[in-house]
Symmetry: C2
Subunit: 274 residues, 2 copies
């Protein structure tokens, strides 16, 4: 058995391309339909109501594309609205990035002290702490919202003194608190891996949720015998759809995808917001 | 003659409250209807098409409120789409923040060298340079996009080492270039006045576009004999409408308005996006 339909992936913007990149690496036969709501990103500072509404609109748009699985690549939407989206979409598997990242951290922490960094909404919901403590109630979780990290990445300043100062400002207390794992709970943060590791030191292991979400997608598709057996997957046969074609799009897309710039389609925001 | 109808003011978010504050100070008898599109802010990194569409939606919403004047308090929309908005709305005066700020700078620069800081879109359009050079073609304009300033203000970090480092990064070249006026071409930047002045030194005069836009509104309403003669203007009789009620709303609104928090109405984004 096999299933050649595409995997649907969405994010508020382009950060979710880190998930797409990992999906291509793990499953080169798969096609992806990626949706980035670049006309309304970022979602991380908005209210739960608005995040839920936007996330449902993104999900419904992809559901009309005959996808075999939906991946909510946005940590903010995964934290606020995954249950809501999964309760509305029962036809196919729906996964987010929070549970895979949380599971990986629980497996890796020796001290049972895990740090989490993310947007204000991701931290506010306590989604990662709940997911980890459901597995191991004794785990201590220290969460810190790092709202400057997304604009720093989007300005191409990953390796800049301002970013190092911001990393110190946000992260020094994680070292004092004795965490031995730090979850990068936002798809932009893997771009800051070097700066973050340089700030917290090598004793603290960084967990990239995007990577573990892609692995979970592979496990589920394998278990369902739904991997594609067509040999024409990958970037060229996938679709990348955005709601706004911004001036920094190419630079950002290539940084998230690793220097590969996909052909892009812009759709009117009205196609989502209905 | 007098006109007791309200003045309509919109911004992508809450930064335009700095214009509202100045309107109340200059014209305490006036009522304002303020619209902040907090579900889709910030506009400054989006494409011209999207900025124009969102700006027109904001303008049309206010036009249904029987206003006597429309103020585009958003520098990004003023730079990209003011002509378009003014060509669609002919019934009442429509003003932006660019021309008032540009005029003030031309009057104040002795060296005829003016610096401009703003969002990526505001800088990209060259709107301020055009406006100044229309008045004095010999004026030299040096523009710099400062995309980190808005998130720094919104995180309440106006007085922080990271903000001072960002100010140095963005502004040191303005000193080297010999400008004697620096236009704050974004309604968030007046919140950084002290840090910016501390960075560029007192030889460089800061021009707050919000303040000059309010003054222009007063001049026009006076000339048209359209000031209100009702004595019940101000914060209490005005309306403040947003498309998303975010968690940081109160802190931000009070910082822009000067510790006064208005009663706020949230409307569905669909009321704009139609």
């Amino acid at each position: 058995m096999s299933d050649s339909r595409p995997i649907g992936v969405f994010d508020s913007g382009l950060g979710g391309l880190t998930v797409a990149k990992e999906l291509f690496r793990l499953m080169p036969g798969e096609k992806i339909i990626y949706l980035g709501d670049t006309a309304r990103c970022p979602y991380g500072g908005r209210s739960d109501d608005t995040i839920t509404k936007f996330g449902m609109q993104d999900a419904r748009f992809l559901m009309e594309m005959d996808i075999k699985m939906l991946i909510v690549a946005c940590n903010t939407v995964s934290s606020v609205a995954l249950d809501h989206i999964a309760s509305e979409i029962k036809e196919i598997p729906v996964i987010g990035v929070v549970l895979p990242g949380a599971r990986a951290a629980v497996l890796r922490t020796a001290e049972r002290k895990v740090g989490l960094i993310g947007t204000s909404a991701t931290v506010r919901t306590g989604s990662y702490a709940r997911a980890m403590q459901n597995i191991d109630p004794g785990i201590k979780v220290y969460a810190k919202a790092c709202p400057l990290f997304v604009p720093l990445v989007e300005e191409g300043m990953a390796d800049h003194d301002i970013t190092r100062l911001a990393a110190q400002y946000y992260l020094y207390e994680m070292i004092d608190l004795g965490v031995d794992c730090l979850i990068l709970g936002c798809t932009h943060y893997p771009m800051l891996m070097e700066t973050i590791q340089g700030t917290v030191g090598t004793r603290i292991q960084l967990i990239d949720s995007a990577l573990w979400a892609a692995k979970e997608a592979q496990d589920i598709l394998t278990a369902l015998h739904s991997l594609s057996d067509v040999k024409t997957g990958g970037l060229g046969s996938s679709r990348f759809i955005v709601t706004d074609l911004t001036h920094s799009f190419e630079a950002q897309a290539s940084s998230f995808l690793g220097n590969q710039i996909p052909a892009i389609e812009k759709i009117p925001l009205e196609n989502l917001a209905k």
